[in-house]
Symmetry: D2
Subunit: 409 residues, 4 copies
Amino acid sequence: MAKGKVCLAYSGGLDTSCILRWLLDEGYEVVCFLANVGQEEDWNAVEKKALKIGAKKMVIEDLQKEFVEDLCFRAVQCNAQYEGRYLLGTSLARPVIARSLMRVAQREGCDCVSHGATGKGNDQIRFELAFYAIQPSIKIIAPWRESKFFNRFQGRNDLLDYAAETGLPVTSTKAKPWSIDANLAHCSYEAGILEDPNQEPPNDMWTMTDDPMKAPNEPTNITISFEKGIPTKLVTPQKTFTDSVELFKELNRIGKVHGIGRIDIVENRFIGLKSRGCYDSPAMTILRLAHLDLEGLVLDAQVRSLRDQFVTHNWSTFLYNGMYFSPERAFVENSLVFSQKSVNGEVRLSCYKGAAYVLGRISSTEKLYSEEEASMDSLENFSPEETTGFIKIQSIRLKKYSEEWAERQ
Amino acid sequence: MAKGKVCLAYSGGLDTSCILRWLLDEGYEVVCFLANVGQEEDWNAVEKKALKIGAKKMVIEDLQKEFVEDLCFRAVQCNAQYEGRYLLGTSLARPVIARSLMRVAQREGCDCVSHGATGKGNDQIRFELAFYAIQPSIKIIAPWRESKFFNRFQGRNDLLDYAAETGLPVTSTKAKPWSIDANLAHCSYEAGILEDPNQEPPNDMWTMTDDPMKAPNEPTNITISFEKGIPTKLVTPQKTFTDSVELFKELNRIGKVHGIGRIDIVENRFIGLKSRGCYDSPAMTILRLAHLDLEGLVLDAQVRSLRDQFVTHNWSTFLYNGMYFSPERAFVENSLVFSQKSVNGEVRLSCYKGAAYVLGRISSTEKLYSEEEASMDSLENFSPEETTGFIKIQSIRLKKYSEEWAERQ
Amino acid sequence: MAKGKVCLAYSGGLDTSCILRWLLDEGYEVVCFLANVGQEEDWNAVEKKALKIGAKKMVIEDLQKEFVEDLCFRAVQCNAQYEGRYLLGTSLARPVIARSLMRVAQREGCDCVSHGATGKGNDQIRFELAFYAIQPSIKIIAPWRESKFFNRFQGRNDLLDYAAETGLPVTSTKAKPWSIDANLAHCSYEAGILEDPNQEPPNDMWTMTDDPMKAPNEPTNITISFEKGIPTKLVTPQKTFTDSVELFKELNRIGKVHGIGRIDIVENRFIGLKSRGCYDSPAMTILRLAHLDLEGLVLDAQVRSLRDQFVTHNWSTFLYNGMYFSPERAFVENSLVFSQKSVNGEVRLSCYKGAAYVLGRISSTEKLYSEEEASMDSLENFSPEETTGFIKIQSIRLKKYSEEWAERQ
Amino acid sequence: MAKGKVCLAYSGGLDTSCILRWLLDEGYEVVCFLANVGQEEDWNAVEKKALKIGAKKMVIEDLQKEFVEDLCFRAVQCNAQYEGRYLLGTSLARPVIARSLMRVAQREGCDCVSHGATGKGNDQIRFELAFYAIQPSIKIIAPWRESKFFNRFQGRNDLLDYAAETGLPVTSTKAKPWSIDANLAHCSYEAGILEDPNQEPPNDMWTMTDDPMKAPNEPTNITISFEKGIPTKLVTPQKTFTDSVELFKELNRIGKVHGIGRIDIVENRFIGLKSRGCYDSPAMTILRLAHLDLEGLVLDAQVRSLRDQFVTHNWSTFLYNGMYFSPERAFVENSLVFSQKSVNGEVRLSCYKGAAYVLGRISSTEKLYSEEEASMDSLENFSPEETTGFIKIQSIRLKKYSEEWAERQ
């Protein structure tokens, strides 16, 4: 009789193949799970491999729509960004994957879940907090944090040896000198040679963006429409897209061609270590810019300021730290959605050699911007003398302060 | 005997020339003041013009060093940005200009100051709050808010007629269909045809950046060094710069060639109106990116998060709203300076067709980033099991929340 | 034909009686409006007086329920407090009064509104921002800011003379040496002898609280129930109250007897001046304490922390500054309501000589507090070793920081 | 040869006596450490007991001055409060104790430190984060989190048995049905019967406050002076105190007599559990009120608002969570100190039956409050018409918002 039934997040790679084998060796029954969040994958090959190694079942779930609509578009509404730069691609995918994995675990009657995330990274935290929040009683097996496992497998060679011993089918391709994680929102590159923060990433590393230096000499102009802060339409020179996933993929395609959305940063992981990461996020970069721009036109100044300080900063941090299934994320997201009621309109952009540029924006429903009122020349409904009073009253406090401190010097 | 003695912020343009004439007509004695904050100007011609119209004196002050060191570099330390995009070029110049104008007013024995800012904009507020804060007793004459003036001069033609009548020397060049304000930090473009937020700015509008589409096909790679968050050295392929103003101007030059730093936004003015502005800020754009990047390497995560929410957001808003000479600006700037003690190191960047890219960063003094510790492979000084406890404790609250709400559904 | 039709906020006192007379002199038709927000008043006498002076109509509206439910209870949900102490009694009443006055103005076809608030206070701002927000086209007559009026009436004696001249019925009672404003939430005392912040308020000043030194030697114990943060039931030794207004008034009665809710502060007015105010708020003080206490039992820690920093602070400031009818107030109030879903339960308190004390709290629906889990002895579902990992991971950043700075000393 | 040398935080109670014995059994050499932070203690008896059990040395350090000046007065400057109510007595003492213990550990050549804090509480975290921050290489022995220890000692009886077996001198007094921790700042009461949050604490529980119901019928009036936010003088009807510790103790004495400073709350521990705590903090309660009041008179409105949202909230949370020796605490404390430059003046208070009341406040150096300017009657230097402009400009945004949303309903 099996020790227990495990739902394993399985990618088909060397690590999780060894983990699968090891769990079987340890006496568990294993159901493998793989989420399709838009990455390139030979799905059949993965399934075959899992079953060959001994998985009882391989479940592959297409989460692309859920991922784009529930997470990526929410991030766009939020102008989400971690530490002023990172667009959170991996952080956004984790909640969707974890939720789906738990659905599978529950359906298949698993009492344990397992994954191949390492012991120093953010992903282990994101996955496990999600698992516990969804089902507090779940048992989690994190082999890279179990001494029995990590003492035995101290490097890639140990895994290769184990694979050879146990007859695991291993792709002979040489590992890249960095780690990759891809989904619709981005591809991330870290570890290996990238651990030197002064080492420029090699140009052939990037997978979701072409080299801006080799991008076309002609820009591509597009128009993105938003309803309540959510992208609802993309018009390109060729075609119009309204399906969320298709719209998102087309932006990835255009962004790739023009080399838009590369970043290279040193960031602060939840556990208190700094790490270096490179990310290319074409669609997210373009959507964030367009949304930010539209908000200038349609959002009240004070609501925007509060949203920036309170919602944008915190939502981004919560996602980064794996706190999606938390009361605090629900709390700030409720505010976010409320703030977006008026974010309706469209933005025209130009994509060219590494960047997107806003060409113009318009809203047929929102009226906070008034060309006439903004005009320096127009004085309708506005008496310039009023500003005198405004300034005088604003100066009361400053004058007092000035007098107070002048005396002391 | 004169009604009073006025120190007028005089640019040599049509508006302030008419104001100068009008103040004299009203019986004031006038000292003209012009700040050199790095704009292109025929300084002699302005002086001659002022004296010809009847100014008692024309004072021109070179404030470039003060502007770069006291304001622009502080903004860089702060990663300052208004509403997520605007780098505050005009807002940064105003305090320096106002402070210098007041020094001149006091030296010249003026009891009044005057300026040509319009009645709906931010600049009137920035100037006047500064004047009042520096000398609470000062009298301010803001002609564009005095009915006697603005009723008489209802448009450009009225000013031209007045100039003709009173023999003002007027340049015959046709006015541009937008307003311009330039200093070392940026050039701003607004009003006129730009008041339609969906009207793309004409390509010949931009003065401090060349068209990214016509930028060189070869990037320029540079290295910027920071001490306590302040740029102290720029190394270009040709030369090394350590003088603050020269360093800043060289970045403007490089940024201009590569078309770096254009933005086009709708923003929220202090008085509650929205307006559309276009800005090109080459040096500030490059410096902000470099500083932001270095902070990733050397700043503690929690200090950074607090600084972002509290200092960056507020300092930017205070500057935008003309609150430089305020206790709240002093309060947050004190925090800013404290946070920058460890921001020491250098950043390598590449400038290419409209954008700057980080190539690498290094610090010889700061050690928060450790290549070895960040490594996923290294387990020295770190037991992976510890993370298990961390996650378990973090999950306590999430589990409770989950149980609480699960029951309700 | 009248110059216009004015809806005047009329109290029956000397100031607004003179304003009524003056508006009539100026050629306006006047409808008087008085809100019943729970203050003591001889309503018939006020009506008679208004009509005698010449008002076309006197409208008195009972706003007690609206005031308690829409504003006071919202403040309780929010633990609202301005500058750490003031419970906002006047600020809470203004929006309800202004809204009702505008309803009357619109019903009666008035194109103007008027009030007797002075030119340095907060109330003029609160009233007028509300009027403008509700009907942007409304014309406002603020006599105390019109030179024609304030130059003529430079003190109380001028008003008394005018009253005598124009035959206004004036109560002969001598004015108190301070100003009073009362409603269900509190009574405020300011100006006059209170302007010296070191002058202790006379004991006979307070109207809604008896002297704590003369309060009964026996406490009164009560129980207050909340649903979603709203007080829904009050149980006293004598009786149970569930009607919002009755419950509120009974708490005022109990609080008065025991002398609960006096504060005496120097506060910062919106216009930048400091002023001294004394306030007694029996019901609000007791309700705030009870609500704050219940939140300890039932609110998630992180939601609470975010709510405290962003919602409580800002909602209080918005109300104080007259920003009730603003997008920012709506924005934070939406968050507030969301946060209160779990604030269900009851709190037992004791009222005694100037203060209320919590005796205990319980919730039959919320489970975040678990006696068993909190117990230091119980180790069920909790392995103490986990905390070791938690602490170790939390210390990573602190150790780095410590090493970094140790070297520098 | 000993396994290692341990510096143990030793109180003389049953728990730490057993831990001392157990450490010796385990083969460690032990130096005992006890901090005098103002608690009542028979210091000689503790020393004798430690030595008798087998400690190599007993070190007792008087930290009262350090505790009051470095921590308690900083908390007063900050108006520190956790979750709106708790004055942080225990949290304030921990950093001082930990720092002193580490000094002793280093002096005595210990490579380990140990304490008797339980595995679910905050104190283990506060102690250990401090230890690690001060000396990252230190080894920590937390017996209540070691299975070898906690499995053996599952309750008080196991400890008593062990004491009997090993000849530990045990006081025969019956344990109280709750835990106590006392220092100058407060006494805390938790666990045991208090774990039922609806259980009213017995009146004989409180040690630092007399029952308000039995307090004198006559108030005691006092005056407290502050310099830069730090209490520097206390004048009572009997005497004047300027020494920090004496001043603090006298306030504790007065507060005790009048029953001031009891609170009873459910709070959120760092590890995510809720717990119930009762605290009496006489001096801190009086000082916080006095300081808060003085700030109303002398602190700029905007600085205060920023300080409240960012410094007060965060400093309190950092202290509660054991983050004293952290970059973020240093960062916000730097802001705090800057904000207090103008907090100079004195506050008169009355202490009476459970509460303190402010009678008046004055500052001879600060001028932000001006009686004349605050006066509703005075119009010097202030034109009421200016407020009209202020209100008009403030209303621009509200009118736009109103029009925008009116159309949608």
